[in-house]
Subunit: 211 residues, 2 copies
C-alpha cells in the first residue's frame, strides 16, 4: 500500500463511550427553558458548580453568551429564534459527544424547537428542566432591564410580552424558581441527574497515570 | 435577602483553568486546513487516537460532518463557506473553553477567515496545521469522488478547481501528506503539540475519587 493511499483510509476510533469511560461518568444534555428572569442561567451555573465538585466534566451553554458568538448574526424574529435554538442544540449534541455534561440555558420559547433538539439526541440523553416563574415575578426581578425596555418600547421582541412562551408539557423536571431558593433548586436537579449520570467506576482511564 | 432576589445573583465559578486542572492537561485548538483529499480528517483522527491513549480529552470537529448538522443550512457560496468556518471556529473555541483538545478538520480555503478564528482565541491557543498536497495528488486520490464530479460538471464549487485555496503563510506546521505516511505525520504533530499542551501533574481532580 502506498503512502498516499494509506493516508485516506484511516478510520476514527474514539467514541463517546470511550470518552465517558476515560472521564468516569456519562455525558448528557440538560436543557433549562423558561422566561427571561426565570433563573435559568443562575440555576445552570449553580448545578455546574456542584457537578464539577463531584468530579464531572461540565459546560454551560448560555443563550445570552451564544448571541455574542455563534449566533451573533441572528436577531429576534421567530425564524432567527428558531435558528438560534437549533444551533445551541447542535453544539449541545457535539459537547455531549465529547463526553461533557452540557447545561444549556436559553429561553427557547417554542415547544416544537425544543422537541427538534430532543429528537436529535439518543433517547434519554436530553433532560428538559422548566424554570417556572410567573411573568410578574420575572418582570419584578428584571435583572437585565429587558422588561422595562419592553414596557417603554425600547425593545420589540421580548418573550412573554411581545411573543409567546410555550411551556413544556412533559419536561423531565419543573423548578418553581419563584418559590425555591437556588440551593433548594440545585438539590432537586442533582438528585434527579444522579440517577441518569451513572458514575462509572474508578478503573476508568481518568484514574490512570497520564503518560 | 429574599429567595427571588437570591436566585438572580449567582455567578459562574467554573473556568477553563479549573476544567484543565481537573483533566490534568491544557486545552487547545488544532486547525487542519488544506484541499479536499489532502488528509485533514485522517490526520486529525489519527492524532486524536494518540492523544486519547496518552490521557487527553479530545474531539474532532469534521467539516464534512458539520455540514450535516450545525451548518446544514449553508451551501458552498463564498459567503456560506465563510459562515461555515466562522461557526466551526466558534464551536472550537467553546470546546477549548470546556477543557477539550479540539481538532478541527476543514478545507477553510480563505486566509482571512482562518485569521478571524485565530484572532478569536487567546494568543498561542490556535495551532494551524497545513496539510499540503498538490491538487494532482488530491485529484488522483479523490476519496469522495468530488474531483470526478467537478470535472464532469456535477458540482460547481470545489476548492482548487472552481474556487481558490489560499495556503497559510505562517502556519504552526506544514505536513506534506503526499510525502509522509499517516504514522510519520502523527509523530510530527504529537511532538509539536507536546510542548504546548503542558500536561499537568497528578494532583489534578482527575486522580481523586469521584464522589
Amino acid at each position: 500500500m502506498s503512502k498516499s493511499t494509506n493516508i485516506i483510509w484511516h478510520k476514527a476510533a474514539i467514541t463517546r463511550e470511550r470518552r465517558e469511560a476515560k472521564n468516569g461518568h456519562k455525558s448528557i444534555v440538560v436543557w433549562f427553558t423558561g422566561l427571561s428572569g426565570a433563573g435559568k442561567s443562575t440555576l445552570a451555573h449553580a448545578v455546574e458548580d456542584r457537578l464539577h465538585d463531584m468530579g464531572y466534566r461540565t459546560f454551560v451553554l448560555d443563550g445570552d453568551n451564544m448571541r455574542h458568538g455563534l449566533s451573533s448574526d441572528l436577531l429576534f424574529s421567530e425564524n432567527d429564534r428558531r435558528e438560534n435554538i437549533r444551533r445551541i442544540g447542535e453544539v449541545s449534541r457535539l459537547m455531549m459527544e465529547a463526553g461533557i455534561v452540557t447545561l444549556a440555558a436559553c429561553i427557547s420559547p417554542y415547544r416544537a424547537d425544543r422537541q427538534l433538539v430532543r429528537n436529535s439526541m439518543p433517547l434519554g440523553d436530553f433532560i428538559e428542566i422548566y424554570c417556572r416563574a410567573s411573568i410578574e415575578t420575572c418582570e419584578a426581578r428584571d435583572v437585565k432591564g429587558l422588561y422595562h425596555k419592553a414596557r417603554t418600547g425600547q425593545i420589540q421582541n421580548l418573550t412573554g410580552i411581545h411573543s409567546p412562551y410555550e411551556a413544556p408539557e412533559n419536561p423531565e423536571m419543573v423548578i418553581d424558581t419563584d418559590k425555591l431558593s437556588v440551593k433548594e433548586s440545585v438539590e432537586l436537579v442533582i438528585n434527579m441527574l444522579s440517577g441518569k449520570l451513572k458514575l462509572l467506576n474508578q478503573d476508568s482511564d481518568c484514574f490512570k497515570t497520564i503518560k
